[in-house]
Symmetry: C2
Subunit: 732 residues, 2 copies
């Protein structure tokens, strides 16, 4: 039985000082949201007044709740239960310290059975952790506090604090389920699965365990009862020919239900636990192409690059997806509905994986439940990003505690396929290596608690690539050339920025600064300019106005600017995804940076504007990620009359079944004019296998400046058709 609490919160400058005033607190939430609400501030995502919040990260925040009336019988216990408190805190009951903790991911579960109605429960939240006073995003490098809040190229500095998950009282039977976990081992040929139910009771007790297993159609497979005389029980069973859990695009994400009920000797229900489980085998493997890599076949001889091809249930999968950067500045207000909306979009985009980036939080269970359901695999990073997390004993102690909590909470989810130490840890700016205590600890904890799930030290590893993050690079190469020349085993981050819609821009940027864009003010604080600070090459990130005008001329209106920038993002990302797919099996992954954003930016690499507004690139990427599509490798974006136009046709196929032969035609369209270019009679292809086709060779006629479209049509398969918008420039 849950008992909700009425929380209030107050700020002070010292842990010994009681706040002068308390304001109502929304739990789950954040102290910043409570303060803004109490003082009638406009929402920060609209007002952009992040500086007004700055003092809050250095305050002590005292939550208080007076316990309501309740009755706890002799065979019951009273618990204070909370999924997470951000970040360092104490819990006190009628003034007595009952818990001190650092870390927002280790849940709180306190037996406070000696509490009485009317007692005061306090949660004192400390200032945000900082390893040094200089205000930058290296400050969290001795904590497990997600680094993004300390300021990033798409995130203002605003460090949330407070109770970010549900915090309630629970009256539980003295004997209740402390743990009920369903594990399994698949036979090598998938013909059978051995299932183990592990139960731990709060106290040894004379109860019975009822275990029910239901198949994906909710048909009851069995009901079994076991007497229990101890506090622990492991029960085994096996199931022949289980339906397997497959990622999106490869089959059903079949899930079984495992239901556990504790029954008293009299047959009354004492406790209950229900879980959805999916049977699948995951491995990270090296493709045959990698084992034979001629690059390493030299003397002195080096090793093969680390494996990054996901093999699910024995089938090598090309991984398509995106980097997930948390959909809100405040983790405490991310609703299940918002998660559902965004994950549905990810599923509809034919993606099969999200990389949950280490700069952000590890999401709540609801995120993983939805991913389990819709076949979205998850690459989950621990909260380390772009910093050097030195392995001091104090830091390793917190990391050990937090990582264990995260692993134990999530390891039952079939969607979770990769643990990863964190983001960009072995780069010249972070300088961590495989010898660092933090990374060895994480690898060890994952291996000890969850040995069958792959662990990556960081991203990128050798052979993998991060970037670029623009349509046109400083060396004048476009994504069209950059990715055709690259030969990574996985593109785990790449991006092309685009401005937000006119409607959003109008809301977040004062009218006087809006057009032409001012390089300071809101365009800058909303990440349109100097998003990484004053680095010469990167000064125009993320608006990239010089690139836009280079292709489309001087911008005459905000509408044109937005439309032009968004076109570059859409065509650029389509190019990269399709190129990465062409490089299969040497390449095994394409994950764009990034899917969502935590507040409304003026320009950013995301496909969605906060919270879930699609940029045109979303549809373009969805097209590029279809299981099967007729595709073209196009040498560049901008063309002139008199040039040879030489796209190369491909049939991209990630589907789980073979394709028969057929015909694909290519047409060039410019205004009202159309030139048939080629018909390719292709021979069919095996499951999960691409087919390269012929190259077009067409002399571009003299045409007015503007756009042209290359249309690739698959006869009888219009759902495979593709269209590419390109630029036709005036003859030079």
């Amino acid at each position: 039985m849950k008992i909700t609490l009425d929380w209030e919160v107050g700020a002070s400058t010292d842990d010994k000082i009681i706040p002068e005033a308390f304001i109502p607190a929304t739990v789950p939430g954040a102290v910043q949201l409570d303060w803004a609400r109490a003082h009638n501030w406009p929402p920060v995502e609209e007002a952009g007044n992040v500086e007004d919040y700055r003092w809050m990260e250095d305050s002590y925040w005292r939550y208080c709740a007076r316990l309501p009336a309740f009755t706890v019988s002799d065979d019951e216990r009273l618990f204070f239960v909370c999924g997470g408190i951000d970040y360092q805190f104490e819990v006190r009951l009628h003034g007595d310290l009952v818990l001190e903790q650092q870390g927002m991911f280790t849940p709180v579960e306190l037996d406070i059975s000696d509490a009485q109605p009317g007692d005061i429960l306090e949660v004192l939240v400390y200032p945000a952790p900082k390893s040094h006073p200089k205000s930058d995003n290296t400050q969290p490098n001795q904590s497990c506090k997600p680094a993004v809040s300390y300021g990033w190229d798409f995130h203002p500095r605003l460090v949330p604090l407070g109770i970010w998950q549900e915090a309630v009282l629970e009256i539980r039977p003295a004997c209740h389920l402390r743990r009920a976990e369903t594990r399994y081992t698949l036979a090598d040929d998938y013909s059978c699965v051995e299932i183990t139910l592990d139960i731990a009771l709060s106290v040894p007790s004379n109860v019975r365990v009822l275990w029910e297993l239901r198949d994906p159609d909710d048909t009851l497979l069995f009901t079994r009862e076991y007497p229990l005389h101890d506090a622990q029980l492991s029960i085994n069973t096996s199931l022949a020919h289980p339906a397997l859990w497959w990622p999106n695009g490869q089959g059903e994400a079949a899930r079984y239900s495992s239901e556990v009920t504790l029954l008293s000797p009299q047959g009354t229900i004492v406790d209950h636990h229900s879980a959805r489980i999916g049977f699948r085998r995951v491995r990270l493997v090296t493709s045959a192409a990698q084992w034979d890599d001629r690059e390493v076949d030299t003397i002195p001889k080096g090793p093969v690059k680390p494996p990054i091809t996901l093999e699910i249930n024995g089938r090598m999968i090309f991984t398509k997806g995106a980097n997930w950067v948390s959909p809100d500045i405040f983790p405490g207000r991310i609703s299940d509905d918002l998660l559902r909306e965004q994950l549905d979009l990810a599923h509809a985009a034919h993606w099969n994986l999200l990389r949950c980036w280490g700069g952000a939080i590890v999401q709540r269970d609801a995120f993983f439940d939805i991913c389990d359901e819709c076949g979205l695999m998850v690459w989950q990073e621990f909260p380390l990003a772009c910093n050097r997390y030195e392995g001091t004993s104090a830091y390793l102690r917190v990391l050990d505690q937090e990582s264990r909590a995260i692993i134990l909470r999530l390891r039952e989810h079939p969607s979770l396929v990769i643990w990863c130490g964190g983001n960009e840890l072995d780069m010249s700016w972070s300088k961590m290596t495989e010898q660092d205590g933090a990374l060895r600890l994480l690898n060890s904890n994952c291996y000890q608690l969850d040995p069958a799930r792959p662990f990556l030290m960081t991203s990128p590893l050798m052979g993998m690539g991060h970037g670029g993050y623009w349509f046109l690079q400083w060396d004048e190469r476009e994504v069209f050339q950059i990715f055709a020349e690259a030969h990574c085993t996985a593109y785990t981050e790449f991006g092309v920025p685009a401005p937000a819609s006119v409607e959003i821009l109008t809301r977040i940027i004062p009218a006087a600064e809006l057009f032409p864009p001012r390089t300071d003010g809101a365009w800058k604080s909303r990440h349109g300019y100097n998003a990484f600070g004053d680095i010469e090459n990167l000064r125009n990130l993320w608006l990239e106005l010089p690139t836009i005008t280079k292709y489309f001329g001087e911008m005459t209106s905000l509408t044109t600017l937005v439309e032009s920038g968004q076109l570059l993002q859409a065509e650029g990302l389509k190019c990269i995804y399709e190129e990465a797919r062409r490089q299969k099996p040497v390449c095994a992954m394409a994950l764009t940076w990034c899917f969502n954003e935590p507040w409304p930016t003026a320009a950013n690499n995301s496909l969605l504007s906060w919270p879930s507004h699609q940029k045109p690139s979303y549809s373009a990427v969805r097209q590029a990620c279809r299981p099967t599509l007729a595709s073209a490798r196009i040498p560049k974006f901008s063309w002139r009359a008199g040039e040879w136009f030489t796209p190369e046709l491909w049939l991209l196929h990630d589907g789980a079944t073979a394709l028969a032969g057929g015909s694909i035609s290519a047409v060039l369209e410019c205004g009202a004019q159309r030139w048939p270019l080629l018909t390719w009679d292709y021979a069919g292809t095996a499951a999960n296998t691409n087919l390269p086709g012929p190259s077009i060779r067409f002399l571009l006629p003299d045409l007015p400046f503007g756009r042209m479209r290359l249309l690739i049509s698959a006869i009888g398969h219009s759902d495979w058709n593709s269209a590419y918008t390109l630029l036709l420039q005036e003859s030079s």
Copy 2:
């Protein structure tokens, strides 16, 4: 008190069958040695009759010893103690099973206090482990049995079995030391060391612990007594300005003595333990040159190569040494004297590290004691090599047990600086990756039990190189070009083969086959030909007669053949060591393959012929590894009159102090003729820093075919002088 046992041993085809006959057994030893001795066979290393031993690997071997008279008082216990039994075995006492074990590295310590004089103690050794029936060196890929015994390019197939370490009875006081381990933590600035003594008693007891610490000069630093009421005790102390343990060439290998005595309430000595400890900090770091590596500064951006520079006590060290492959086919007969002799040679060669290769055994404590004493660092691999060790639960269980035993036994040694998963595990022929359970288990166990010591998954890692193993490669490049063009972070294996001495060859090869060398028979079985089987490029390994004749013409005698082959090895290895040193700090290590050999080969990459006969390459390598030397980068080995001779001068310096300026001169000598080439007035150099010098440019005059010598002399430092023998061919 130790009681030795008289062992006998017999063979049978089944574990249920008692051998028909027993023969005397030497313990420690091997069943093969016992059988050969009992049957008056000549030593296998001379006779080469390895086929005669083949049946023994598939037999069951039953050791028996009748317990002699002994008296165990009420406050004593009787133990059967053995350091290691090879490989799978049972121990029985008067017929009752008391232990079943797989693994030769986990010591046996059995309380058999119910035994009586006259009882029979049996050790039943199973056949050698094989994962499949095909007789090749992949058979041990599901065991921790060192792979080399199953046949290698320098090792015949001969799989030792039996009791390979001392096996005795011990009468111990009921309360004795189960563990006494001295650990320490150095202050960041080395000004102080915190020392912890961990003690575990066999039973809780009312004894006193006397702890004495002595400095490297054996001066008593303190004596302390502690009462003990429990079975465990941890005692801390600290020491200001400790003398540090330094590797060879960087300072003293200072060692302290930690002595523990258990005293009864009456003051009598109950038990005693003594250990030598060395204080040092070890890290594997990435050099500044690597962090700035332009190779990875591309878009998409990859990570930096893994760190392989040893930093000892804050000082980056260039690592010079060799691969150690165990000095005998039979681990059970490697004497302390043999270890001492070889390790003294390693020390005299100015080496600071031996890589104990994963194909061979992990040596006994005596090896590490000597390494501790003489500043030889050890890179210790677990017993995995060149195979795919699949992570089945049976294999992981043995690997877990064996690796824990190895780590716990060796972690107190200051010389041990790197743990490594094994040899060449992520190559195309082994196909293991960082995702393999075996490698994750080893990393995890090392981290859990010994977190401060670096762990490498395998060798080579990305950036490191293995090979080549010949003077002239199939692409016609010599080591002079191959290594000048390479840019590895560490050369952890490289070799140039040479034949054994005439005296050894005459002993191991029948006179009729000796000269000219026959490509079958003993030259082949002793690894002179087809050492890797019938691989086209490698057919002439390890004699490499075509290379020898290419440089020196048709061989006219065995003496000339040996002298020519040995010259190529000496000059080739000198070139590689000096080139690797020139590439510092991008390159951090040079370890030749290999130092010793386990039986007498006809030709091999080793510097020593079995057991410890120096080839001329040993002196050459010792010259190349001097802390300071005047060196030349020479473009090639073989020259012609009329060519421009263009060596580049270098002052190589790995010493711990700076050098003042001076002069270095170069002279070319050919027969009686001498040409002064250059005098270089160098400016001095910092500690541990090389100094590049000028390039010579000299037109080679017309001279008769033969050898010429380049002599580099450091004025006032004749111990830095170098001489290179080169070939002068007839003008073409």
